[in-house]
């Protein structure tokens, strides 16, 4: 919470002014009933109508003061909340962009997204609402009580006596309903999940004639939701009648006590008006608590991320490797979780301009090798060298500049085709077109309205899977990188297109080292070096020919995929 509050600091002046105005505005409103009772008790008996008009003028004045005070205070609160949320979001986004992959894994992507979206929204709500109602409600409550004491001490005590009852009622209802609404949320989630599942599985459901079964299942889910909702509402709808009842009973008490002790009906009239104000203030405070507690929770989630140290350590003193090799793994082991190794004791080396194929089943550790190469993670043992330098000895930016990479399930922005290939590098159109041609993407880009200027929808929904992959490959090629990494990035392409792409890459980018991760033998068959991975361990290394002779695993894969033994 502390850190979040510092974001208000630059706007301290506006905040203070806003709070003062809010205070004045709310206080002004409180004066009105006091004037009313003054008119009834003190002015009417004097029969001075001029004074009555005067008092009317005073009331109008205070009403106007309240109006403008509150409006300006609200504007200031909107400005402060808007600006501080902007700043907070900016810092959070910047931090998130630079987080280490390990940190991203720990916090998880969905959670990071929700911190940037919903949590920042709730912090915004908290700041704006507290500046508006958070000041107003306590002032109205306290001020209302103070004015009551000024009017008549004993009557005010009667009023004060009802406050704990109302507070208790609100407190107990809230405490009882909060867990109930959590259940309602869970019920809602279950309902949505049921619908989602059945929509995606509609073919299976229809094929197995299970629609009636699903109807019944859903009826159960919907019924459960309805009954939890009703149970929560049963308690929740007590709030209004109950608080009103308590205050009304207090009101009756005021009349009785007033009749016993006081002889001034105007005082009682004023009192009755303050009653309403105090009641509303209490309801307002209970709402503020909800906003506040949610906001504080969100703020702390945001602060957790802001507190992370995202800097990668650079250790220039680490020994260098063989400078004639583009890539070298020396006895590399690595573990995501810190317990079992995900890959262990892996060694291989690749010369400049050569190509490396990595093949193996799902979970064999293929993508892990790519991650270590780009230093998304640090090895647990051994060392990874790029251009003869330990990847930990150079700044990550200059290391990654050497690469052009396309990953599995990579992302495309809702922006133009050009922007997606260029990706913030400021490349010339010739480079982009050359890369697109090479990636076999130019053919379909030319068919798009506006070609390179064609705008992709969110998640590139307006492209097919194969088109997306080809754009990603184009992106990897466009920067003329020293090392091209294609991590399972042609799986949606048919064999012919895949082959044409690989031929073009070899022809157009002869100087670059190529790392091709694939499930298909045909994708890696012609690589200078093929690494066969199985459960994180190298089970074979060599050319296609060598592996067909020596590596049982490789032979088996080739056999099932191509139906030949060669």
């Amino acid at each position: 919470m502390k850190k979040t509050l510092t974001y208000i600091k630059p706007y301290a002046g506006k905040t203070a002014l806003g709070l003062v105005l809010k205070f004045l505005g709310s206080a002004a409103e409180l004066v009105l009933p006091y004037v009313l009772s003054y008119i009834i008790d003190d002015v009417i008996p004097t029969k001075n109508s001029a004074l009555i008009y005067g008092m009317g003028g005073v009331m109008l004045g205070f009403a106007l003061l309240a109006l403008f005070g509150n409006i300006f205070a609200n504007r200031l609160s909107a400005q402060v909340a808007g600006a501080m949320t902007h700043d907070l979001r900016y810092d959070l986004f910047r931090k998130t962009c630079y987080l280490k992959c390990r940190q991203t894994d720990e916090v998880t992507v969905p959670s990071l997204i929700s911190r940037l979206t919903s949590d920042s929204y709730y912090v915004n709500q908290m700041v704006a609402r507290t500046m508006r109602m958070g000041v107003r409600a306590p002032i109205l409550l306290l001020g209302g009580l103070i004015f009551c004491f000024m009017l008549d001490v004993s009557l005010a005590l009667v009023l004060l006596a009802t406050v704990p009852f109302v507070a208790a009622a609100i407190f107990f209802i809230t405490r009882k309903t909060v867990p109930m609404y959590i259940k309602v949320q869970a019920g809602g989630d279950a309902m949505v999940r049921a619908v989602q599942e059945d929509i995606t599985g509609i073919r299976v459901i229809k094929a197995l004639s299970k629609t009636e079964y699903e109807d019944a299942r859903f009826e159960g889910v919907a019924g459960n939701l309805a009954s939890t909702e009703y149970r929560a509402q049963r308690v929740m709808s007590l709030t209004n009648p109950l608080t009103t009842l308590i205050l009304n009973i207090g009101l009756v008490a005021v009349i009785v006590v007033g009749a016993m002790l006081s002889d001034r009906p105007g005082v009682i009239t004023g009192f009755l008006t303050y009653f309403t104000i105090v009641l509303n203030a209490m309801l307002g405070i209970s709402k503020i608590f909800v906003v506040l507690s949610r906001g504080v929770a969100s703020a702390s989630r945001i602060e957790q991320v802001l507190a992370l140290d995202e800097r990668e350590q650079v250790l220039p003193s680490l020994p260098a490797g063989d400078p004639s090799r583009a890539i070298e793994f020396r006895n590399v082991s690595f573990s995501y979780g810190g317990k079992e190794d995900n890959i262990s004791h892996i060694s291989f080396a690749l010369g400049r301009g050569q190509s490396l194929g990595i093949i193996g089943g799902t979970g064999a550790g293929k993508s892990t090798i790519v991650s270590l190469l780009l230093r998304f993670y640090d090895v647990t043992e051994g060392a990874v060298y790029v251009d003869g330098q330990d990847v930990r000895s150079v700044p990550p930016e200059s290391l990654r500049k050497k690469f052009g990479a396309a990953f599995q399930n990579d992302f495309l922005m809702a922006a133009s085709v050009r922007e997606n290939i260029d990706y913030g590098r400021g490349l010339a159109d010739e480079q982009i077109i050359r890369a697109a041609k090479c990636a076999q993407a130019w053919e379909f880009i030319e068919g798009l309205p506006g070609k390179l200027d064609y705008d992709l929808a969110q998640k590139a929904g307006n492209l097919s899977g194969g088109q997306k992959q080809r754009l990603l490959i184009a992106r990897a090629l466009a920067g003329d990188p020293e090392i091209i990494v294609l991590d399972d990035s042609s799986s949606a392409l048919d064999y012919a297109t895949d082959a044409a792409m690989r031929r073009a890459v070899a022809r157009e980018y002869p100087g670059a080292a190529k790392v091709i991760v694939a499930q298909r033998v045909s994708s890696v068959k012609n690589c200078d070096l093929i690494v066969v991975l199985e459960d994180g361990v190298v089970s074979g290394i060599g050319t296609h020919r060598q592996l067909m002779q020596d590596c049982e695993e490789y032979r088996a894969i080739a056999r099932t995929q191509m139906g030949v033994t060669e």
Binding site: A66, G82, M191, R203, L242, L374, Q458, L493
Partner: protein
């Protein structure tokens, strides 16, 4: 649910024109069973509100009994107090009961509508789901119906009590001091005019605010999900700059909207205060002139005026809530208008004891009129044959499956199974005679056992274990702490795509249908595992008529007939050898997988 607020905001400010009559006739159907309760609620709330309106009047009368000179008759005051307390308690109880009743009705109605819409959805043809975003359908069933329910339980009560309060307090004010009511001739038009102006001004601003926030959030989702790519290309700064543009726009749209939006609160209060000032002044003057007989009248008038202006200010709010509830209801009821899968033909037979002979004759089909996907396609398959369908991605291979299963109906031509036209048999029996394993594995949130046994309610634990062994997934399942009772929910256990596919293969193995459809059934299984389950797959296929869609051509070499599709057309048809000899599309496809470039 966390982002519900934003979504509701967006929905709320959508501009829509709704067909009120249509909505109410539909809603009426659902409300009818609760008519009696509804009437009860109506009268309870009427009585509750009316009683609460008597309060201020009684207060005024009681205050009048307080004598300035201290000769107040306490017993009379006590009597008033007792009556007042009784009135308030009764009114509170009635208010609570009526809101309970209303919320019960609304929950029941919403539940009924929800279940009915779902039932309707299940009866709709597959094409409905193919042409719509799942998110849209879900939002109808969740957000829209929630909005409707909230509106039913809160807004109707609100309107009911507001109406009673407005009329009641107006009457009471007229009774107390008719002249003073003239004050509202000033303030009500003023606030109505103001509200109208503000709403007009603010609505587009709020729409902009939520759309800008939506853009920002959408961008964040994309970029964070592609975190590694951003890192790999060192383009953090570029992304931050892009973000900053959207962030600034969102903040600015927020501030502008709030600048105007937050005027309404203080303005409403001002109108109330203005009324109070006017009533005080004129009340006092009129009292001095003897038009108003007592000070107590001023007191009760002030209280009534507060009650009176409250609901008037609420009305604008409630109206906009109502508007969005009506729009939501309309979206929901529109689902009922969709065409269900046409009923089975009159006198449709049950397909029983199927051998699995499939005869397709001159079949033509198009999803979009004028864009044929299949043209004059014929095929004969005998029981136990393997028919393979190959082609590029997006070539329309699954269309054949859609037609066989009658997820879609062909425009012309016939498909016969065992000589019976499939449009003349019941859909259920037709579909029962097929088993499918699809590329998009489908598991629901239930236990592993339930998922595997889904197609066969009679399957025992032994049956399930047997097929799971055959599908090479048993050892994985038995290593889980809860074994076959493990619940497959979003993230409870770590299960890979390949393992999911093995579970669906196991599910298919439980079925004894004479025909089998394999649509890229092993695409997510890694090669090693694929080898292991090869025997099981062969067992699964043995003796059944199989339709196999595959990427890897090795799996289908021995098919009785291979259908090659391109751009939605069937371009070649024949056995592996015939097609290779033809040196056409299949020949190219087949060689591509050995052709490794360079």
């Amino acid at each position: 649910m966390r982002r519900e607020g934003n979504i509701k905001d967006t929905r709320r400010f959508e501009r829509r024109r709704v067909n009120v009559k249509y909505i109410f006739s539909n809603l009426g159907r659902y409300l009818r069973p609760y008519a009696a309760l509804f009437v009860l609620v109506f009268f309870a709330s009427l009585a509750g509100t009316a009683l609460s309106l008597v309060g201020p009047r009684l207060c005024g009368l009681a205050i009048d009994r307080i004598k300035m000179d201290g000769t107040t008759d306490m017993s009379e005051i006590w009597r008033y107090a007792a009556v007042l307390a009784g009135v308030y308690i009764l009114s509170g109880a009635l208010t609570y009961l009526s809101s309970l009743g209303m919320s019960w009705v609304s929950r029941c109605v919403v539940k009924r509508i929800r279940a009915d819409i779902f039932k309707k959805l299940m009866s709709l043809p597959v094409s409905y789901f193919d042409t719509r975003q799942a998110g849209d359908i879900i939002s109808v069933l969740s957000y829209d119906l929630d909005t409707l329910g909230e509106s039913l339980s809160n807004d109707t009560m609100m309107v009911l009590t507001s109406a009673v309060t407005i009329v009641g307090s107006l009457v009471m004010m007229l009774v107390t001091a008719p002249v003073l009511v003239l004050v509202f001739a000033v303030t009500i038009p003023l606030s109505a005019l103001f509200t109208w102006w503000l709403t007009k001004k603010v609505q587009p601003l709020f729409r902009r605010r939520s759309s800008k926030l939506g853009e920002l959030n959408g961008f964040v989702e994309e970029v964070i999900a592609g975190h590694r790519t951003t890192k790999a290309y060192n383009c953090e700064e570029d992304m931050i700059a892009r973000f900053e543009v959207k962030n600034r726009q969102a903040a600015e749209a927020y501030t502008v909207a709030e600048n105007y939006g937050t005027i309404s609160g203080p303005s409403v209060n001002f109108m109330n205060n203005l009324s109070l000032a006017l009533i005080s002044v004129f009340g006092a003057i009129l009292f001095m002139n003897g038009v108003i007989p007592s000070v107590g009248d001023i007191a009760s008038f002030v209280l009534y005026s507060r009650k009176f202006s409250g609901p008037i200010n609420e009305i604008a709010n409630v109206l906009s809530e109502f508007q969005s509830a009506l729009a939501a209801a309309e979206r929901a009821f529109r689902v009922f208008e969709e065409q269900s899968e046409p009923a089975d033909a009159q006198g449709a037979e049950e397909l029983t004891d199927v051998r699995g002979d499939v005869e397709i004759e001159h079949l033509s089909f198009s999803y979009v009129p004028g864009v044929p996907v299949i043209k004059d396609f014929s095929l004969t398959a005998h029981s136990g044959d393997v028919i393979a369908i190959v082609g590029h991605t997006g070539a329309g291979k699954t269309t054949i499956v859609n037609l066989l299963m009658r997820f879609y109906d062909a425009q012309s031509g016939t498909i016969c199974i065992d000589g019976k036209d499939i449009t003349k048999v019941t859909r259920a029996s037709l579909r029962r005679s097929f088993t499918m394993v699809l590329q998009d594995t489908w598991l629901f949130s239930g236990s592993i056992f339930q998922n595997v046994a889904y197609g066969d309610p009679a399957a025992t634990r032994e049956d399930v274990e047997r097929v799971c062994r055959a599908a090479k997934i048993h050892s994985f399942v038995s290593k889980l702490p809860q074994g076959y009772d493990t619940l497959l929910t979003d993230n409870a256990i770590n299960i890979s795509k390949g393992q999911k596919q093995l579970l669906t293969i196991a599910r298919a193995m439980l079925s004894r249908s004479p025909m089998l459809i394999l649509d890229e059934a092993t695409s997510n299984v890694d090669t090693r595992t694929e080898q292991h389950i090869q025997q099981a797959m062969e067992n699964l296929m043995r003796g059944r008529t199989c339709f196999v869609i595959a990427h890897r051509l090795s799996t289908i070499r021995h098919a009785k007939c291979i259908i090659v599709m391109e751009h939605g057309d069937v371009v070649e048809q024949g056995t592996h050898e015939e097609l290779l000899a033809r040196r056409g599309h299949y020949y190219n496809l087949y060689n591509a997988q050995f052709d490794s470039g360079e």
